[in-house]
């Protein structure tokens, strides 16, 4: 069977599902960040697949380059914040960081 658009969309959907699972269930802050990375990769794969099979040109790849750029900067900032939180609270479990709750 010829590999077509739907196959790539399926892979991206599986990645997106696992990413959502990470974000919804993980307690560790870095684990949540891993889920965000999975979702960003799924979106980028969709952009490239749609460009290859439907639109042509290079616009999908341009968008993917921007996604990779933003993911890198987002990871740097998020990890710096995680280090700060660990310094003040001695934990990075998301459900133990309840300062703003009461």
């Amino acid at each position: 069977m010829q590999v077509g658009l739907v196959h790539y969309l399926t892979v991206a959907a599986v990645l997106f599902g696992f990413g959502m699972l990470c974000i919804m269930t993980r307690r560790h802050a870095v684990g949540i960040l891993l889920g965000v990375e999975l979702i960003l990769n799924a979106a980028a794969l969709n952009f490239v697949a749609f460009e290859h099979f439907i639109s042509g040109g290079v616009s999908g790849q341009i968008f993917t380059v921007f996604i990779i750029t933003l993911a890198a900067s987002e990871a740097a900032i998020a990890l710096a914040i995680v280090l700060q939180v660990y310094r003040t609270h001695r934990t990075v479990m998301a459900d133990e960081l309840t300062d703003m709750k009461n």
């Binding site: 959907a13 696992f18 870095v30 891993l34 710096a80």
Partner: protein, 169 residues
């Protein structure tokens, strides 16, 4: 034929390691499994004739982001309870919600008539460079400013953490 075999191998690598990322109880295993996902996606990019993106994927994600994440894990994880460092909560309801969402996505993707053109696999690096220096000039420059800002912000935030720690000791 050979192409589809390669596709299924790469897809299996991507999905299985994404599963380990989402389900492993050890944060180190989750992080290392992300390596497999990134490499599998780089291979899929090559199959979609996005050769430059594959190189960027390996360089930026595997070389940069993953190293950064591993550093953060090593600096924050308590090593005695590393085996259960990445526990999850409320997994069943989350799985139900995600299953419903994926079902909806699949129905939409199946009921849509995609106007598919069979494109030949051609290298796209030169075209990408021309597009960046003509049509997408402004977003490209704004992207570099964003990277600079993020880098300075990360250094300022993380440096304070490391500095105060060393003063305390």
């Amino acid at each position: 034929m050979g192409e589809s075999v390669v596709f299924y191998l790469l897809a299996a690598l991507t999905c299985v390691s994404a599963g380990i990322v989402a389900l492993s109880r050890n944060i180190i295993y989750s992080t290392i499994a992300l390596l497999g996902t990134f490499l599998g996606i780089a291979g899929l990019y090559i199959q979609l004739s996005a050769d430059f993106l594959a190189a960027i994927q390996v360089l930026v994600y595997v070389g940069g982001t993953l190293t950064l994440i591993l550093f953060a894990v090593m600096l924050t994880a308590k090593i005695e309870n590393i085996r259960t460092s990445n526990t999850a909560r409320a997994r069943l309801p989350a799985m139900a919600v995600i299953g419903a969402m994926l079902l909806l996505l699949g129905m939409v993707a199946n009921s849509t008539e995609w106007p598919i053109k069979i494109a030949k696999a051609t290298p796209s690096t030169a075209k990408l460079g021309h597009a960046f220096l003509s049509e997408y000039m402004l977003p490209f420059e704004v992207g570099s400013v964003v990277l600079l800002g993020a880098m300075i912000g990360a250094v300022v935030l993380a440096r304070r953490a490391v500095k105060r720690d060393s003063e305390r000791e």
